[in-house]
C-alpha cells in the first residue's frame, strides 16, 4: 500500500473517487428516468403508426410522420417557427443589450428596483401576461389609439404576425437582459475610457469593448430565447388569432391519440434543432473564452 506525500494512501484515494462517482448515481438514474427514457420512447413513436381506436402505436420503422412533417403543409410551419425564433433572438438582443447597458450604469437601490422591474413580470403566469398583452395590442388598446392619434389610422397588432413577433420579443426579453447584464457587469469600465482616450469613437467603443464583453451573455441569451421561441405555442395562439401554423401549435394539438407518431416526429425534430443550437452555443462560448 503506497502512501502519498500528503499522507493519504493511494488506495483510499481510489476508494474515495469511486464513492464520489457513486454519488453521481442518483443524478444518472434521474436523468435516465426523467429524460432519456421518455425521449427514447418519443423518438421510437415517431417511426410508428397510431390507431384511431386504441391509440396504440405500432412502431415499425416507417417514416410517414417525417414525410408528413417535411411535406408541403408543415414545411411552412417549420420555416415560420425558425423565423420567429431568429426574429426573437435579434429583437431581444437589440433591446436587451440596450436595457442591460443602462442597468449596469445604475447604482444602489435604483439598480435593485430596475432589476426587479425586469424580473418581476416573470413571476406572473405567462398565459396571463400574453392575454394582457392582447388587450394592449387589440383594436381598443393603447397601441391602436396612439397610432390613430398620430397617423390617423389605428394599427391593430392583435391577430397578426407582427403581433406575434412583438409578443414574443416582450415575453422573452428578461431571458436576454439578465445574461447580458451579468456579462456587462464584469466589464472593467476603465476599458471604455481607455478606448475613448485612444481615439475610438462611440460606435467603435460600443462594438469592440461593450459588445465583445457582452458576447457570452448574448450567446446564452440567444440560446434561451431561440429555443423557447421555436416551440412557442401560447403567443401565436393568443396574439396570432389562430391563423398561423407553427411547430408549437402542431405539437400541442396533435401529440395525443392516434396522432402521437406525428406529434413525436415534431417533438423529435424540435429536440434535434435545440441540440444543434446547444452545440453551436457551446462552440461559440468556447471561442469567446479562447479569444
Amino acid at each position: 500500500m503506497g502512501r502519498s506525500q500528503s499522507g493519504v494512501t493511494t488506495k483510499s484515494l481510489g476508494q474515495r473517487m469511486r464513492w464520489r462517482q457513486l454519488g453521481l448515481l442518483p443524478d444518472i438514474v434521474l436523468a435516465l428516468a426523467a429524460f432519456a427514457l421518455p425521449v427514447a420512447i418519443m423518438v421510437s413513436y415517431s417511426f410508428g403508426k397510431g390507431s384511431p381506436y386504441t391509440f396504440e402505436v405500432d412502431v415499425d420503422g416507417r417514416l410517414d410522420s417525417y414525410r408528413r412533417l417535411f411535406g408541403d403543409t408543415y414545411r411552412g410551419a417549420i420555416i415560420r417557427s425558425l423565423q420567429l425564433s431568429a426574429i426573437a433572438i435579434i429583437g431581444t438582443a437589440l433591446v436587451g443589450f440596450m436595457v442591460a447597458r443602462c442597468l449596469v450604469q445604475l447604482q444602489g437601490r435604483t439598480k435593485v428596483i430596475a432589476l426587479g422591474l425586469i424580473t418581476f413580470p416573470s413571476v406572473v403566469s405567462f398565459v396571463v401576461r400574453i392575454n394582457a398583452l392582447g388587450d394592449v395590442l387589440g383594436p381598443s388598446g393603447p397601441v391602436a389609439k396612439a397610432t390613430d392619434t398620430v397617423f390617423g389610422t389605428p394599427t391593430v397588432l392583435l391577430s397578426t404576425w407582427r403581433g406575434v413577433v412583438v409578443g414574443t420579443v416582450l415575453a422573452y426579453l428578461p431571458l436576454m437582459v439578465l445574461p447580458v447584464y451579468a456579462a456587462l457587469e464584469r466589464l472593467d469600465h476603465r476599458l471604455i475610457d481607455a478606448a475613448h482616450d485612444l481615439g475610438a469613437g462611440w460606435f467603435r467603443t460600443l462594438r469592440t469593448v461593450e459588445v465583445s464583453a457582452a458576447a457570452p451573455g448574448l450567446t446564452v441569451g440567444a440560446f434561451l430565447v431561440g429555443t423557447l421561441a421555436l416551440g412557442e405555442y401560447i403567443v401565436p395562439r393568443v396574439l396570432g388569432g389562430g391563423k398561423t401554423l407553427q411547430l408549437g401549435n402542431i405539437l400541442a394539438e396533435q401529440a395525443t391519440g392516434a396522432n402521437r407518431p406525428f406529434g413525436a416526429a415534431v417533438a423529435t425534430t424540435m429536440l434535434a434543432i435545440v441540440a444543434i443550437a446547444g452545440a453551436v452555443t457551446a462552440l461559440v462560448l468556447r471561442r469567446i473564452r479562447a479569444a
Partner: protein
Amino acid sequence: MNRIPRRTLLGYSLTVPAATALLAACGSDSASTGSAAPAGATTVAPDTATTLAAVDSAAPSGSAAAPAGATTLEGTINFANFEGWLGANTLTEFNKLYPGIKVNQITADVGFETLAPKLKNRAGDFDMALLDARNLPVLDQLGVLAKFTPEEVPNAANVDEAFRSRFDPEGDNYVTTDYGRYGIAYRKDLVSEPLTSWKDFLALVPKYSGKVLGYDRPRPMLAAALFAMGKSANTTDQAELNEARDMIKAIKGGFARFSDGTVAEGLLDGSAVMVVANDYEIVAASAKDPNIVWVEPTDGTLGYIEGWMIFDGPRNDLCKAFMNFLFEPKNFADFVNTLKIGSVMTKANEFVDPELLANPIVNPSPAAQKNITYAEDIGEAEQLWQQAWDEVKAG
C-alpha cells in the same frame, strides 16, 4: 368537438335576470315541496330497484326524505366536466338524497382529445365524464366504458328516443345530456345583405374582411364549406376535403381570427359582424344584444350530441346514482334552464323556461332538426380533416 370554455358563456347567461329568477324559483320550489323522493333516484342501490312506471310518477326532487339505500352509498365521484356544466341546483339536491356521495368536478381534463389518452393509460382517476357521443366507438374500443342496464339507470329512458339511440342503439353506454349545432350569427345592424346559407356567408367574408370570426377546429369550419358545396359534413373523400380546404383558404384573409374560445364576444363588442357560431353561444349573446341574430343555414348545420358516460371502476354505483338523479325530469329541467340549452327530454319540458323552449336557436323547429347533420366518428379520416385544416392555416 366542443372545446369552447363554457365558463364565459355561462357568465353571459347568468346575467339575464329573468331567467335567473326563474331558475331560483324552480330550485326553491322543488326544495320546499317536501314530497316523496323521486322513485328513479332510489333505483341504483341494488336493494331498491324500482320500475320505469315509478319514474314517470316521480315527484320533484329535493325532498327531505332520502331514498332507501341512498345512505349506504358513500364516496367521491371524479367527474370530468366542463366548468359549470350542471344545473344550478344539481349538486345541492343530489346531496340531499345522497349525503354520502361527493361529486368532484375535474374541469382541467375535459374533452375527448384530452381525456381519452388519459383513460387509455389509466392516468388520473376518472369515474365519469361529459363527452361528445360520436367518440363512443373509440371509447368502446379502448375498453374503458362501464355499461349499464335500464334497471340500473331507469331515468335514462326519460330522454327522447331520437337522442337516446342516435349513437348508442342499445342505450347502455351513455345518456344524452344535450345537443348543439354550428350555424351562422351576425349583427343585423351591421350586415345588410340577406344571409340564409353557408354559401351566402362564405361569399360575404371578403366584403366584411377583418370582421369575421370562425373556430380553430376542422369539423365546423370545413363542414361550412362542404355544406355550401352540397357535400356531406362527414365526408372521408380526400378530393371533397381538398375542395372545402381551398374554399376556406381563399377567404382566410377575411377572418379576423380562428378562435379556440368564444366568438360571441366579438359580436357583442362590435369587432365582428358575422361569425361561425355554436348555438348556445348565441342564445346568451342575442339575449344581451337583440342586434345579434342566429341563422339556420339552409344548406345544412353540423350538430353534435353530448352525454354522460361512466368509466369502468370501483365507483360505478355512485355514478349510476348521480346519472339517474340528473335524468329525473325536474332535475333535468334545472340543468337545461341553467345552461340555456336545447332540451333532449320532452318529459322535462313542463319544468323548462317557456321562453327557452320557444327559442328557435336552441330548440329548432322539426324542419330545422331535419337539416342537422350530426358529426360522426370517421376513424382514420379524422386525420384527413386535421391535415386539410392545417393546410388552411399554413397557407
